[in-house]
Amino acid sequence: MKTNRKRVNGVSRRSFLKGAAAAGGAALGGGAVTGFPTVWAQNLKDVTILQVGPAYSVFQDIANQAAKDLGFKIEIQNAWTDALMTRVINQPETVDIADLEFWAMQKVWPSGKLQNIDTKKIASWDKIEPIFREGKYSNGNAVSSQGTLPFEVLYVDSPDAKGFAGKRTEMATCSPTIYNADTLGIRPDLIGRKIENWSELLNPEFKGKASILNVPQIGIMDAAMAIESRGDIKYGDKGNMTKEEIDKTIEILMAAKKDGQFRAFWSTFDESVNFMTAGEVVIQSMWSPAVTAVRTRGVACSYQPLKEGYRGWGVGMALASHLDGLKRDAAYEYLNWYLSGWQGAFIAKQGYYNMVQDTTKAALSKEEWDYWYEGKPASVEIKDPFGNLMEKPGAVRDGGSYAERTGNFACWNTVMDEDKYLVQRWNEFVAS
């Protein structure tokens, strides 16, 4: 513990990391500040950190770059959030760092299998997007708390607290990394008119050409956005419906299904891409990288901003409770590295946002920044994270600038209190 404190006090994390990026070996040298240079350096090389998380967040490319910059090994495994949750709870020793969505934190933190993060050790904590850090937009306005507002599950009062603080403390459940604003994807070429509201998902005009995703918790939120927009139901909290609200929502969905509104429901990322690309579906729930994938195939597809706002989500890296000593130090290095720019630039190119803007800005080229964050027309060819051509010069990002896209969260991915009932009713809807 003593060494930890000394290291943190002694080195400016960001400048240290910048140096580290220049040469892997320099990262080891950075330890010199702690006063234990050789021991630190030699042992660090032997440390291996295992990071587990969903495929849209945990990438081999990112781990490779971090290992190069930091000087220790980082292994990754992909697991979807639900599988990851069980793993952290039932076999916590098989995970060092878990990339958990905030709604999952709601279920995982009370199990006591994670340790809190000392926010003082995250150098750019105060630069983290205020929506997450403070629960407010940068202009001070409150963010919608329908669903799991990340801020509400980000802080705890004590390391072994079962509940969340709901206010800022120096103990965090995770170190926030990436987030995005989800909306509907459309085929503008096949629709041929403006789409401005969520209600269009249920518009009979798109009979047999609409789709929603077959994940009960998220599918019902998209449905609720559409139903509320159409004016059928005014929800108390879309993110935590009562049984009656679930019943009404499912009834409306069943009626729509009976009328042939839905062409299909998708369960996997590539299904959503294929439905769109093949023209089976012209309007559906979608994820940003899926829109990117449709476009790289040369098919027009836009991630349509809608008046009612976006469904937000975010991911944070959580430390398993078994981490200590050198391994924990290394894990903190990695958490800091994540917010230091390279990862932000990588993830920005699939349409997501890193929690810290400054470092991402520094790591992106001016042209890329203008395209992804400023919403300006591309002045050069825009490439995806893997270097494939995505947009020709002149293209504009859907939803416009960062401020426009993230200024209007209507609700957040979540688990409801009536989750079990929801899953049961959803099964019924699918089978109807």
């Binding site: 639900d82 995982v108 299909a264 294929n274 089976e280 049961q424 099964n427 699918v430 089978a431």
Partner: protein, 285 residues
């Protein structure tokens, strides 16, 4: 003497061990789990009938059972029709043994690729902008693409029939090939019509094959959760796919209770088949 009496036990030991390890133990775990409780994240050991109550009392389970049986019955009918006809042609109309073997191998060619590939390949063929719809449109037979071709029960059954017909055909072919041709000749000499030969000789003598094939097809269809999800575009469900949904949402005990229910539901038609045909006796023949 004691050594001699030990021999048969040693002989069955390997199979018994495999059966215990890979069938009995998992089944026991499954049944145990079905009595546990879950809050969607952690499991609590218990002995509760809540999961069964939920499964059996919900109308959706029975609806899903009906759907499962419907898919099984329709698929069974078509695989039997096609499997029997193909076998009949191969055994009684193709006289040349080499040609017979060649044609039979031809039937297995689709099996050189995986199930998933064979299933997915229907998607671009049947889609709205798929080959089949484009062909019909260019021939002027339809104005609007036929939507029922894909993401529908039709697509699900078509795929099942495509995937599983061979499982019906092989056992039937096998039984048919064992029929002594002189029996048929004798019947024809005695004045039997084609239809009588089929009804009174061929079908009774191939019933083992039909029974085995039926067991394959029925269990495959009733246990499937993947074909139905992809080919119906997630719009149809059966018991196994509802189970999969529960597993995805971490409600393992509910899924386990449903699994026990499904096992019983699958055993019923199989017991019925085995009561009609004594497969063991027929195979030993």
């Amino acid at each position: 003497m004691p050594r001699a009496s030990l021999t048969p036990y040693l002989q069955v030991a390997p199979l018994a061990l495999i059966m215990v390890l890979f069938v009995a133990v998992p089944l026991a775990v499954l049944v145990t789990l079905s009595f546990w409780l879950s809050d969607g994240i952690s499991l609590t050991p218990a002995f509760s009938f809540d999961n069964y109550k939920l499964v059996l009392s919900s109308a959706i389970t029975w609806k899903l059972l009906f759907a499962t049986l419907k898919f099984a019955a329709i698929t069974w009918f078509f695989t039997l029709l096609i499997g029997f006809t193909c076998s009949y042609f191969l055994v009684f109309h193709v006289r040349n043994l080499k040609l017979q073997i060649a044609l039979f191998l031809l039937c297995t060619i689709p099996f050189w690729t995986s199930n998933v590939i064979r299933m997915i390949s229907w998607v671009p063929f049947l889609g709205k902008e798929g080959l089949f719809n484009q062909m019909l449109q260019s021939l002027g037979m339809i104005d609007q693409p036929l939507e029922f071709l894909l993401f529908s029960d039709f697509a699900v059954i078509l795929t099942y029939v495509h995937l599983f017909t061979l499982f019906m055909m092989v056992p039937i072919f096998n039984s048919m090939a064992k029929i002594n041709p002189s029996v048929i000749e004798a019947a024809v000499d005695a004045g039997a019509s084609h239809f009588m030969v089929l009804k009174d000789i061929i079908i009774p003598l191939t019933r083992t094959g039909i029974a085995l094939g039926s067991i394959f097809v029925v269990t495959l269809v009733m246990g499937d959760f993947f074909v139905i999800r992809v080919m119906s575009g997630g719009q149809s469900a059966n018991i196994a796919s509802a189970m999969k949904n529960n597993i995805d949402q971490l409600y393992y005990p509910d899924a386990a209770a449903m699994a026990v229910f499904l096992i019983i539901a699958v055993l019923l038609p199989i017991v019925a088949i085995l009561r009609i045909v004594d497969v063991r006796a027929e195979l030993a023949r």
